[in-house]
């Protein structure tokens, strides 16, 4: 062998050893260094989790009557991956299905589109889950029709029927409570990504709003998971894990089905009454609270929706109506998300302010037809001159001018447009003593904060808007260039960051930029009724396991106390009683056998409706009863409802009638919702079979 050959052989040998070494190195990397990563990848290829959803816990009222329960349903599902593979993308299948199920093809089409596939604004009714889970078209199919579909699988590729547990809101006594209960729906991708320590599975349902989402972690339970190992053909080779589902816990609320039903009816009647009187009456809310605990006994919002619609199969129309302005956005819970000027109901705050400022609550004050504030004359309600009266009477007849004068004087005392460095701000401080800007802390999602239009608020507002007002001619539309608005803009540009006399005057009667939720107002009135305690509003009383063990109880929380003198609170209670005896609510409550205290409110609203009409007044009635020993607070608000007394006052009377068992101005023995005169403190026995108790009516 010559040297050249020998050298070549050596080179080849080195090359080949290097190649083998490369293989060994790569093998080491794959199996040892990156082994765990590939083991996980292999596991996700081989294993399939079959999820058996847990039975969702019930939501019951204080007596154990189910507000949300489960029933067996028959789901017709469409497999998007399967129908997408069809030549016509499943159009034929969906059309046949629409005929068979008596649904609209367009609805089925929309329901099977993933929300992510659709452009913004056209997402109503879309599927929030993923492509990989069968999409239910309905969950309450007729068994005969389901059978037809299963038998004719050639005509319905990708369509399946299977029994499912569905959430059912039983609507005893026509109770709706949609805004309190919420509804359930499929998990979204964001839900799946949430790292709250709980593992979610695609086939599960989750609470979407209301109590269903608030207490979802208790209600949902633990789904059962059967992990199977599959081969390439997806046939099961063995089972690697099998856990049984654990049923969700029940939620006991402080609601009462009978009272809730009555509150809903009273609210709806009030809305209709407002409309009968020529008002738009597009929305409303009504709440009943236990003033000694802050527990919510009933809560209604108008307009509402059917919480069962989701499980029945939401039509596109239903889905878009939920957020439609024309339909007054039924999805909105007015009781905690609606912000309205409180109008005269806010005079309770003004009384506290006046007392703090040293005004004698028992002295007489003038109630003229108008008060000159700077260059503007502020009119009394209906421009009536009522002469001289004490403050109690002023509250009862809802005199405005007395408050204009006090507020204007105090404003001047605080320096007017050149405020002192340490102004007294009695009115703002009185409002703050009611914790007005803090949330009521109700256990429902998305509560709005009420807004106090104080000095800090004005400054913030000015920072955000001064560019607009100081360049009004450039920024505003042609229609906005009226002489009045131009002048307003000029004023706002100069001293928009200051509390002006008009602002101070408006504040004293609950007008202007200060807005509250009905829930905030009931919390304030409950505090007046109970002598000064500000309670957190709560719905939940306890979480109870299916075997009856109590997992968790919710004790009422005090958020604070009024700083007003007990004598001021006592005065307020008396003045509010006077409203119902001889004042603005006397008519609404004439002959009512239980002593009720309250205050009407009729708030002016600026702006126009979508149809161009001017907005009607907000109608309020805030109250508590029995006056001598208050137990319940009731607040009703009807947006664009007109007068406080005739629309809401009458509505609140209707609620008290049910609460106290009053028929025809008489208390019927045993007819009251709570026979002991107070809501039950014992937790009820929970059974899906529990029905509402007769009230003896």
């Amino acid at each position: 062998m010559n040297n050249k050959s020998r050298l070549s052989l050596l080179v080849v040998q080195i090359l080949i050893v290097s190649l083998m070494a490369a293989l060994l190195g790569r093998l080491f990397y794959l199996q040892v260094a990156a082994g765990p990563k590939y083991r996980d990848a292999a596991l996700s290829i081989q294993s399939r989790d079959v999820v058996a959803p847990a039975t969702r816990g019930l939501i019951v009222d204080a007596y154990g009557v189910p507000l949300a329960m489960n029933k067996a349903g028959l789901a017709i599902t469409i497999d998007r991956i399967a129908i997408d593979k069809l030549e016509d993308k499943g159009v034929g299948v969906m059309k046949r299905l629409a005929t068979l199920l008596n649904l609209k093809y367009a609805d089925i089409y929309q329901n099977t589109r993933l929300c992510g596939e659709l452009p913004k604004g056209q997402k109503a009714g879309c599927w929030q889950g993923s492509r990989y889970q069968p999409i239910p078209i309905t969950k309450s199919a007729d068994p005969d029709i389901a059978l037809q579909i299963v038998e004719r699988s050639d005509a319905f590729p990708g369509v399946d029927a299977q029994p499912v547990a569905i959430r059912s809101y039983p609507s005893y006594l026509n109770v709706n409570a949609a805004h309190v209960l919420g509804y359930v729906g499929p998990l979204t991708e964001t839900d799946l990504l949430k790292s709250n320590g709980k593992q979610y599975f695609r086939s599960e349902t989750i609470g979407k709003t209301g109590l269903e989402i608030q207490y979802d972690s208790f209600l949902r339970g633990e789904p059962g998971i059967r992990t199977v190992i599959v081969d390439r053909k997806e046939s099961i080779t063995r089972e690697s894990q099998n856990t049984k589902p654990v049923a969700g816990d029940h939620l006991v609320t402080s609601l009462d089905v009978r009272l809730q039903a009555a509150v809903e009816k009273a609210l709806k009647d009030a809305v209709l009454r407002g409309r009968a009187n020529g008002n738009t009456s597009d929305s409303g809310a009504a709440i009943v609270m236990d003033v000694r605990t802050g527990r919510i006994l009933a809560l209604a919002s108008y307009p509402t929706y059917d919480p069962n619609a989701w499980e029945k199969g939401l039509t596109v129309q239903q889905a878009s109506d939920l957020f439609s302005e024309k339909k007054s956005v039924p999805a909105l819970n007015r009781a905690l998300q609606g912000l309205f000027a409180p109008a005269s109901t806010f005079k309770a705050v003004s009384v506290v302010a006046a007392a703090d400022a040293g005004y004698d609550l028992n002295a007489n004050y003038k109630c003229p037809s108008q008060v000159q504030v700077g260059t503007r004359a502020f009119q009394n309600f209906d421009s009536k001159n009522q002469g001289s009266m004490n403050m109690k009477k002023a509250i009862a007849v809802s005199c405005d001018t007395i408050w204009y004068q006090i507020a204007f004087d105090e404003w001047l005392r605080d320096g007017g447009l050149r405020p002192k460095s340490d102004p007294n701000d009695y009115f703002f401080k009185a409002a703050q003593s009611f914790h007005i800007t803090e949330k009521v802390g109700i256990d429902l999602p998305s509560e709005s904060s009420s807004r106090l239009a104080d000095r800090a608020y004005k400054k913030r507002w000015y920072e955000q808007n001064k560019d607009f007002y100081c360049n009004y001619k450039k920024r505003a539309t042609k229609a906005q260039q009226t002489p009045f608005l131009l002048q307003l803009a000029a004023e706002n540009c100069i001293d928009g960051d200051k509390i002006r006399a008009g602002d101070a005057v408006n504040f004293s009667i609950g007008q202007g930029d200060t807005v509250v939720t009905p829930l905030k107002l009931i919390q304030m009135y409950a505090a007046i009724a109970n002598g000064g305690t500000i309670w957190q509003a709560t719905l939940a009383k306890a979480i109870v396991k299916t075997d009856g063990t109590v997992v968790k109880t919710f004790t009422p929380q005090k958020l604070g106390a009024l700083t007003a003198e007990p004598s001021t609170i006592k005065f307020l209670q008396g003045a509010l009683r006077e409203v119902v005896v001889s004042g603005t609510a006397a008519g609404a409550f004439s002959g009512f056998p239980i002593a009720v205290s309250g205050k009407t409110g009729t708030a002016q609203v600026f702006g126009r409706n979508p149809n161009g009409s001017l907005k009607d007044d907000t109608s309020w009635f805030a109250s508590f009863a029995p006056s001598n020993n208050p137990r319940y607070a009731v607040v009703m608000m009807v947006g664009q409802g007109g007068f406080g007394a005739s629309t809401s006052g009458v509505g609140v009377r209707q609620i008290y009638e049910t609460l106290f068992g009053v028929t025809g101005n008489k208390v019927i023995p045993g007819a009251a919702i709570f026979p002991d005169g107070k809501p039950p403190t014992q937790l009820p026995k929970i059974s899906p079979a529990t029905k509402p108790k007769e009230t003896g009516k």
Binding site: L27, L30, P36, R39, A42, Q46
Partner: protein, 386 residues
């Protein structure tokens, strides 16, 4: 009588010397690889076939038959004086070329995975003439390059050209199939043989350049079919295709990687038993080793291959016969590049081509050819002193 006796004795002695002439290490390593291969083929097929109502030992039985035939062929190759092979080589080469021609005729050749590489035989057997061609090329080239009709130190350029012609004709026919893997392996063997033959260095350099350019032009000019380009592209970006070639490569990597250090145990690999890797008893058999035997087991297979190749080098270095040396070199290069191509593909180092793993993959033609290759190495070894 005594004459017969003496002849018998002579015969026995020659046979004994032949057996003594076997390289024991090479024999043991091949035996071990065949044994491991048998277990892996069984592991790759038993569960799936049994679960789908077929004979779980179908592949095992046929694999053992293939090994038996292969061993007979290897033995035959060993006992024939390899110098006699020279005489048969033209026929072997001719048969290889003929077979490669036949596979291209529609109706006679059968197409598997986009390559017309097979001749279907009755009884479900198939034969791959390219495997035969590898041996013919190695022997043919070694023959031409080792004959010294002159006093020069190495072959002349003319002889190099002649030897290249021997390789070129079968290679062209394989390009028509097309079977990129086999071309790659043959090219590697050709360059190695020419390098070791002592041919002028410019030839080696030129051939290496041609190989690189050829590959480039082939892709550009579309000589390589779309199927091949797909396979090459998925090699560059394995995530580009989720179901096709990229899927196979990813599955293969996951299966090997999931084996970890010690593996799941023979017959207990869920990836293997679920048959997530296609062709796992043939081209992707190394995934079974990876998953079930882990790094220790599959690394041991690599070490066995390394020992085998090193024994080959040792034989090539020790022989005085230039022809034997070139045959050994060719066989080693063939084995080495086929092993590297196959395992490299499984591990994601090489593009996907359909070459079986020597001694381990299921498949008759490859088994026969590689065992004949071992026969050649043993043959040269047995005559080291002859």
């Amino acid at each position: 009588m005594s004459q017969i006796h003496a002849r018998q004795r002579l015969y026995r002695r020659s046979r004994q010397s032949l057996v003594h002439g076997f390289d024991p290490v090479l024999t043991a390593v091949v035996g071990l690889l065949l044994f491991i291969g048998t277990l892996l083929v069984w592991a790759a097929t038993r569960d799936w076939y049994a679960r789908n109502g077929l004979d779980g030992q179908y592949y095992l039985k046929r694999h053992i038959i293939n090994i038996m035939i292969g061993l007979v062929l290897a033995y035959g190759t060993t006992v024939i004086d390899y110098r006699l092979l020279r005489a048969y080589t033209p026929f072997l080469w001719g048969a290889g070329v003929l077979g490669l021609g036949i596979v291209l005729i529609p109706g006679l050749g059968s197409e598997v995975n986009g390559a017309k590489a097979w001749i279907a035989l009755p009884g479900g057997f198939q034969i791959q003439p390219a495997e035969l061609a590898k041996i013919a090329i190695i022997i043919g080239m070694s023959m031409i390059l080792s004959e010294r009709s002159h006093d020069s130190d190495g072959p002349t350029s003319g002889e190099v050209l002649q030897s290249l012609a021997v390789a070129a004709i079968p290679v062209l026919l394989i390009i028509l199939q097309p079977d990129m893997g086999t071309i790659l392996i043959i090219s590697a063997a050709v360059v190695t043989i020419i390098a070791v033959s002592g041919a002028p260095s410019r030839w080696v350099t030129a051939l290496l350049l041609i190989a690189v350019l050829g590959g480039f032009v082939a892709v550009k000019a579309g000589v390589i079919s779309e199927y091949q380009v797909n396979r090459l592209q998925t090699f560059v970006d394995p995530n580009a295709d989720t179901q096709g070639a990229g899927y196979q490569l990813r599955q293969a990597r996951i299966t090997v990687g999931s084996g970890g250090l010690i593996g799941t145990g023979l017959f207990d690999g869920p990836q293997t038993n679920g048959r997530f890797v296609p062709e796992q008893q043939t081209d992707f058999i190394f995934t079974v080793a990876g998953e079930e035997l882990g790094f220790l087991g599959s690394g041991a297979i690599l070490i066995l291959y390394l020992i085998l190749l090193m024994r080959g080098f040792s034989i090539a270095r020790r022989t005085n016969d230039p022809f034997g040396r070139l045959v050994c070199t060719g066989v080693i290069a063939w084995f080495a590049f086929q092993i590297f191509e196959n395992i490299g593909m499984t591990l994601g180092l090489m593009p996907m081509t359909g070459v079986p793993l020597p001694f381990i993959s299921y498949g008759g033609s490859s088994m026969f050819a590689t065992l004949i290759g071992i026969g050649l190495l043993q043959n040269v070894h047995a005559r080291l002193r002859g």
